[in-house]
Symmetry: C2
Amino acid sequence: MDERVREHAEVLVDWSARVEAGDDVVVSVGPDAHELAVAVAEKLGERGANLLATYSSGELTRAYLRAHDGDFDENPAHELALVENADVYLSLGGGRNTSATADIPGEQRRAYDTATSEIREERLATRWVSTVHPTRSLAQQANMAFEEYRDFAYDAILRDWESLADEMAQLKELLDDGDEVRLVSENTDLTMRIDDRTAVNSAASVAYDSHNLPSGEVFTAPSATEGEVTFDVPMTIRGESVRNVRLEFADGEVVDYDADQGGDVIGEILETDEGARRLGELGIGMNRGIDRYTDNILFDEKMGDTVHLALGRAYDACLPDGESGTDSAVHVDLITDVSEGSRLEIDGDVVQRNGTFRFEDWFDG
Amino acid sequence: MDERVREHAEVLVDWSARVEAGDDVVVSVGPDAHELAVAVAEKLGERGANLLATYSSGELTRAYLRAHDGDFDENPAHELALVENADVYLSLGGGRNTSATADIPGEQRRAYDTATSEIREERLATRWVSTVHPTRSLAQQANMAFEEYRDFAYDAILRDWESLADEMAQLKELLDDGDEVRLVSENTDLTMRIDDRTAVNSAASVAYDSHNLPSGEVFTAPSATEGEVTFDVPMTIRGESVRNVRLEFADGEVVDYDADQGGDVIGEILETDEGARRLGELGIGMNRGIDRYTDNILFDEKMGDTVHLALGRAYDACLPDGESGTDSAVHVDLITDVSEGSRLEIDGDVVQRNGTFRFEDWFDG
């Protein structure tokens, strides 16, 4: 086993999920994430945690959803009981075909997502962390050779997270103090309110309310979005290629959309429920260890010089106690490149220009 | 997909587990059983049942158990809740190395089995069925080519189960009416009481209290075992080769044992708990579709011309209501060839000689 697989497992279990003896841990294993799962099992054994492995395969999901008549039972008791009783939920992504679910009818998926919303809530109430094992299928999606992709992935994952957390704290402070954010670039001029919201310093650890490994972004939950935005970073969503999505917002809600490619997927997402037409997240990528797009949201949205917005559900960590932000069965991120001709303002002050932050030496306000 | 994979899934879901709409189904997937899992997912979708897939890998188990300090939490809440809330539990075996767990210390495995006994009880309280997907690793264990092995496996699995059930009912009747069984062959002379026990006509369906696919045996739960027995069918148990195990019983308990190979594994099993030194099962193979030993208990113990005995836990279905038979954390089957120089008596009457039953045309009493 590549020693980096063991290091990945150690970062995941210790830094990210803060696993302790006696924790009831669900490990969701993708069909090609076996090797990482073995390393995680070893680490959980060392820590004296309790392991239950589930199998997460797009091909199983596809076969099941396509065969079902669409009248799904709400929150099946066995799966609900499993997540209700879990302390930690580790998702180890890694399949053999990133398009494995491309031909699931949108209506079918929406019905299933809606029927199982309580299970999702309970999963999000655990110390959950999502990561991926670098697979050939992910390398292919990134247009990279397998070995090259593994180097890329581990460079992004095996970082000095404590030091990156210190750097990101500066942007969190600016967002926490601000009331309104404006994002301007070619084809984009969008304003969002963030008055009473708390930004998350997403340092790849539940101790920072951060649930992705790798991470390296600062995000908050915007509201009252107005204006238009173009997402120029190419992505695959639900197995389909999506290019240059344009959204127009009025009074916090999407009122118009189009895309050069994949517009039907965006339309499908927007129809999920009311929350799917609102923003749940404004995220600003700060992981400069990620040096290229690889058509994988887990990496792309963390890349320095990018900003992303998510349609759908907001994370509780960004909201005042007792207040609910956007609620939805979906949370779909879309990314825009801000490396050139762009600025991000907080209450009228430019805090990032062409990807460089005001607290960085080379900032040219 | 080979059409037989879909037929296998259909027999498993409909005939074996009698899955109905609304059933909460756990599907335990081995690392190489993916294709069968996809077919089962499709069938569960068609039936309107609820699917939760778990991942069952010897390599994960090994990594976890070897790393753990051995002081296991009893019946972790998340796994216990999952099986308590499951109606059906389908185990799809199929790994990449049948010796994947060979170097787990016996003490460690025993401690884990004992700590999780309630989880096992709850699993056995579901409509559970164990089957295997024919893999290259199983073909290797059987000394067969992959395609050859697939033909072998599907010949055993895709049978006319209803007609075999009728045939086996005749042996069940003889056992249900009898008080004492005696098995005699070279190096074997064993008597067991079966007075108040009920034999199971194991026709590969929970409707027959039968939980294996393939099946094709009639079994009961003996007691008061006396005498000696030699198991001459070669097997791999817990990843180790076991050859010619000899057990000596007095007053229902193993008082002496040895083996040409794998004696340490047998010793390890016998030390699990008190029940592990007693018999939990007497089984008589009647599936003549299985035409050779393949070093896989699921097939070998069902083969015609064989008798098997299990150390450890008895199945409730064989016991009078409210009465408990042998209780143990283990159930380990051992097999003896009865095709030559053997006889099986019930209350002094020969019911099988050299593999042929008294209700068969060619019986020579």
